[in-house]
Symmetry: C2
Subunit: 235 residues, 2 copies
DNA sequence: ACAAAAGTGTTCTCCATACACCCATGT
DNA sequence: ACATGGGTGTATGGAGAACACTTTTGT
């Protein structure tokens, strides 16, 4: 086995958990995927999707695993938010928990999954009291999401491969909880030259139909390499 | 003792450490406080100031304690940056480490302290190879510092109570590693109406002397409460 | 006199904002 | 015909960026 010396024996050890703030978006607005906790303590109360890190993985891997276990989803955008460590934050034991936020295309998460994983999409503005410090985690995650959304194209992770400009605008309005002028928004987005009009139309929300666009990831990569610093939104 | 049930017994536990990225600023530029590691493994190599969290404290408290133990300093601006958890990041044992950055007025950290604590101020651009993932921690901390400095008055934590406008400008130039136009900078800073000219002058860096200003914290608090969103720097 | 740093205003450009009407289509 | 959401252009204001000379004083 391990013949290396092992140091730091004199220091305490702690359980380390990850909790996932899972954002989704549809025509109703920005939502979080929540569950009723399935084990003690606090069984049955509203909770984020969480789990414990184990010895064979790092935090990113633990977060991915937990997300997969709780939702079946893989390869989604995830990012560490911050670590919560209040001594009594979890009444079950001393646990240090690392919050991650995830952005998923809500249409990939089909209705059967919500049954299978006993998960519920809840509008951000209707989030109930959650266990422990989970409401604070949500708050920090939202701040981070807004910050990212101002200068990164993270928003597209919440939409399908193709999307309409009205949908994209609604997304930004939901993220920043504000109204945006339609003409200014479209001008800004199209002038960045990072959206490709597929020529196809989407008719589910209007008779006239709205053009479907996709995000030009290749071009975005190139431009950022060249020092281009885009601005997707400003207060 | 504790008669509460204890949950999660089946999960692994981990050592949890904090590492502090301590920023200081003087006429030479932006610096970090580093030390040669005092214990195994990697004794004698360059390292951030770090230590282990214990059961009676949370991470913020651990970071404060470590900062005090390593530098003697208290009540400085500190902020959690992010958590590092690669399985073999520390060859001594499995350790999850939480990076904190601290901003201190370098003049409060007198020369005797650097001897007493065997700490060295090193210019950011001369940072050597550090142990483990500490260079990455520094990188993340700098990104966070820049982000904060754009819309928060964190910079003032790196200066004394009173400071000259040229010194403030040099600070922003050091943080963002760029040149700033003197007139535009002064115009912006004074137009925010958050700096108070004390009427006194500082002569150490010029014959003419430069006015000493102080930051109007009270006014800043009031204005932010009213929704004012200042911009202290923009790319 | 001169070197060295402090201090001072104006112009231009660009980007964010505000704002109102026509278009396409299903009913 | 009309209701619904999609799509379009222009004018204005404010903030950032560029830019050069005078002031003070110690040597």
């Amino acid at each position: 086995m391990n013949t290396q010396p092992t140091y730091y024996q004199e220091y305490s050890s702690f359980k380390v958990a990850v909790d996932c703030i899972i954002f989704g978006f549809d025509e109703e607005g920005l939502k979080l995927l929540l569950q009723k906790r399935k084990f003690e303590p606090c069984r049955g109360e509203w909770s984020l999707m969480g789990g414990f890190m184990n010895s064979e993985e790092n935090l990113d891997q633990a977060a991915e695993r937990v997300l997969k276990e709780c939702t079946g989803l893989e390869k989604v955008y995830m990012e560490q938010v911050m670590t919560f460590s209040e001594i009594s934050r979890d009444p079950g034991n001393r646990v240090v928990s690392v919050a991650y936020f995830a952005l998923i295309d809500i249409r990939h998460y089909v209705k059967e999954s919500t049954d299978k994983y006993q998960a519920v999409w809840i509008l951000l503005k209707d989030i109930p009291k959650l266990i422990f410090d989970h409401n604070e985690m949500v708050h920090k995650a939202l701040i981070r999401l807004r910050q990212r959304a101002t200068n990164c194209p993270v928003g597209f992770n919440l939409l399908s491969e193709t999307f309409t400009l009205p949908a994209l605008q609604q997304l930004y309005e939901a993220i920043f909880d504000c109204k945006i002028d339609k003409r200014n928004f479209r001008k800004k987005m199209t002038s960045m030259d990072l959206l490709i009009n597929t020529g196809k139309k989407e008719y589910s929300s209007s008779k006239k139909g709205a053009f479907l666009y996709c995000f030009d990831e290749k071009k975005y990569e190139e431009m950022t390499k060249k020092g281009y610093n885009p601005n997707f939104f400003s207060l």
